[in-house]
């Protein structure tokens, strides 16, 4: 599966085919397909334990020890598969072709190194700036671009001297330093206050658009995805259960999970007793999802047939769903 995957189409920034992540014999991410075209902003949405962060790490070749990836991950202008590549190959891709913004700004930066040096380092590693001096001045420019006050001063600061929002800006600057073709954001604003979140989201989106880069945006927040992305993939239990344009998925969800999620997250709609719509049960721990349809133990529509894995319905991986009992196409899941 990994070796004879088709070479990526010229216009695709990222082509993921049959990606799986497993620990031992337990599968955490299963048979994931995903294509991102240049300049496209794609959201990957899922609750805790759905495998979305693992997917991001697998795309970067950064899976923790003990976890293994299968399938194929091809990146434009990289002549090897990310899956199975060695560290030398991967280190040339990371930070250069693909960059990543992590969730926790408080811990993502080295506490003992000045932030300017950390940003400059990203450029020096890949030789995109000729000298340390050039890299440092480029770093200051980048800090300015992400809207940090007094960029030269900030460059000399240590992470602990910055607020959470400021640190996340540094992380964004760091990720954008080498104008990557693809930016992966893993819950970049979850730890931030709403007002700060708004700024950072704006910053990321602008940065991506300015560079003509594509983006994979991972979050559990439906509204955030809807705000920054054009296309969305819904992940549950390690699988993509539904994919499509944001408008379509969020207004006419087909998968019962997507439907439930949308309903439960809408706090403006209550029944006659003033109660919110709920998805029953709890999200199982990673790797503890039922076989067959991963959602069937919480699904009101589940039948015996759901014990078998539902096939993908739709024209391609970027538009469709996998459900034995999909909501009717006309049913409006929202509003």
């Amino acid at each position: 599966m990994t070796t004879h995957a088709a070479p990526p189409l010229a216009q695709d920034v990222l082509t993921v085919t049959g990606l799986g992540v497993s620990v031992g014999d337990r599968s955490l991410v299963d048979n994931l397909d995903l294509t991102i075209r240049p300049g496209e902003r794609v959201g990957l949405i899922g609750e805790s334990g759905s495998g979305k962060s693992l997917t991001a790490l697998a795309l970067m070749g950064l899976l923790p020890e003990g976890l293994a990836a299968t399938g194929s991950v091809r990146v434009a202008d990289v002549h090897h598969d990310i899956v199975g590549a060695d560290e030398n190959q991967l280190s040339r891709v990371r930070g250069n072709d693909i960059a990543m913004v992590f969730q926790e700004p408080m811990t993502a930066l080295n506490p003992t190194m000045r932030v300017g040096a950390q940003v400059a380092e990203a450029m020096l590693i890949h030789g995109t700036r000729p000298t340390r001096r050039a890299a440092m001045s480029a770093a200051v420019d980048l800090l300015e671009q992400v809207g940090l006050p007094d960029p030269p001063g900030t460059a000399r600061s240590y992470p602990h001297q910055l607020s959470g929002g400021q640190r996340q800006r540094v992380v964004v600057a760091l990720a954008l330093a080498n104008d990557p073709a693809l930016l992966i954001c893993d819950e970049p604003t979850t730890a931030l206050d709403v007002t700060v979140q708004a700024l950072v989201l704006d910053l990321i989106v602008r940065g991506v658009i300015d560079r003509g880069a594509a983006m994979l945006f991972i979050t559990h927040d439906l509204a955030v995805v809807a705000t920054v992305c054009e296309r969305v993939l819904v992940m549950y239990g390690g699988r993509i259960v539904e994919a499509g344009p944001v408008q379509q998925v969020f207004t006419r969800p087909r998968h019962r999970y997507t439907q439930g999620l949308l309903a439960a997250s809408d706090l403006s709609v209550v029944d006659d007793r003033g109660r919110l719509a709920t998805v029953p049960g709890t999200v199982p721990a990673a790797g503890q999802f039922p076989a067959g349809c991963v959602f069937r133990n919480r699904c009101g529509h589940a039948t015996d047939v759901c014990a078998s894995t539902p096939a993908w319905t739709g024209q391609d991986a970027s538009d469709g769903f996998a459900c034995h009992h999909p909501a009717p196409a006309s049913e409006v899941g929202h509003g």
Binding site: P64, G66, P280, G281, A285, A286, G287
Partner: protein
């Protein structure tokens, strides 16, 4: 909430399996420690020979069916001495760890729960005590109170207090930051009940780990003291003194150093491994990561 939903999550098997892998040290450590304890208990009811009986006719025998580990220059049975010596070792560890724990643990908890200035003061005293290394303190104590295992071990225990106090204090501070402490206070629990019901159980893993490691250190310290002539006085069998006595025979009867040396190493290794294994087992940081 609907009944068909399993309320209890099976504990993450990942964690369990990984712990299993890592916990070779726990298993081996526990086995070695048990060995030492069993030897000590056994020696109360049975030893092949009287361990302190001097028998010139049987001096320096090689290991045989009668003398499993041979005899020393006094004709005493080495195996019996090793058996009884484990009692000394356990006694040493229990006294030292007991002194350190009984004083250090409450001190750590109180210093964390008390007003800041008090905690700081306790910690400064702690640092001060830390400046008196265990062996130094033991030598000074034996100089004052005469040499006996008990005195030396109390000294070592006192020198170990800071280790406990410091660790337990930081553990307690961690616990105090949690919301269940707030919840307990909101439930009307007083500081004493919080210390006893919430803090103590939650730092118990730290205590056990520290106790295990300190035990090993105490055993080593007793050996060093005996070597210098400040430790367990004869005729009580002690591995440290056996080692010291065997030194002049190292050339002619190296086995006399081998057995007590190995016994010390086994005991220290056992307690260290046990401590390490327990730490891995208890450390939530190791469990939650995937």
């Amino acid at each position: 909430m609907s009944a068909e939903i399993p309320e209890v999550l099976p504990t993450g098997q990942t964690g369990a399996r990984r712990r299993g892998l890592r916990n070779h040290s726990l298993l081996i450590g526990a086995a070695l420690v048990c060995l030492v304890i069993v030897m000590g208990l056994l020696s109360f009811v049975w030893t092949p020979h009287n361990p302190t009986l001097v028998n010139p006719a049987a001096r320096l025998q090689l290991p045989s069916a009668e003398y499993w580990f041979g005899t020393d220059k006094f004709g005493r049975d080495v195996f019996s001495q090793i058996l009884v010596g484990s009692r000394t070792t356990l006694f040493v560890g229990i006294v030292a760890v007991g002194v350190a724990g009984v004083i250090g643990v409450p001190l750590g908890i109180v210093s964390a729960m008390a007003p800041n200035w008090f905690g700081e003061l306790v910690m400064r005293c702690n640092d001060l005590l830390l400046a008196f290394p265990a062996l130094l303190l033991a030598i000074m104590f034996t100089a004052v109170f005469g040499s006996s295992t008990l005195v030396a071990m109390i000294a070592i225990g006192i020198a170990t207090i800071p280790n406990f106090a410091r660790l337990i204090r930081s553990g307690t501070l961690q616990v105090l930051k949690t919301e269940y402490i707030l919840a307990a206070r909101a439930s009307g629990r007083g500081p004493f009940a919080i210390g006893l019901r919430h803090v103590l159980p939650n730092v118990s893993s730290l205590i056990i780990v520290q106790a295990s490691v300190s035990f090993a250190i105490a055993v080593l310290a007793e050996a060093a003291l005996s070597f210098l002539g400040f430790g367990t006085p004869p005729p009580t069998p002690s591995w440290g003194r056996m080692l010291q006595e065997s030194q002049e025979m190292l050339w002619s009867a190296p086995r006399l150093a081998l057995f007590p040396g190995a016994a010390i190493a086994v005991a220290v290794l056992g307690f260290n491994l046990l401590g390490d294994g327990l730490r891995d087992r208890f450390d939530p940081k190791l469990e939650d990561r995937r």
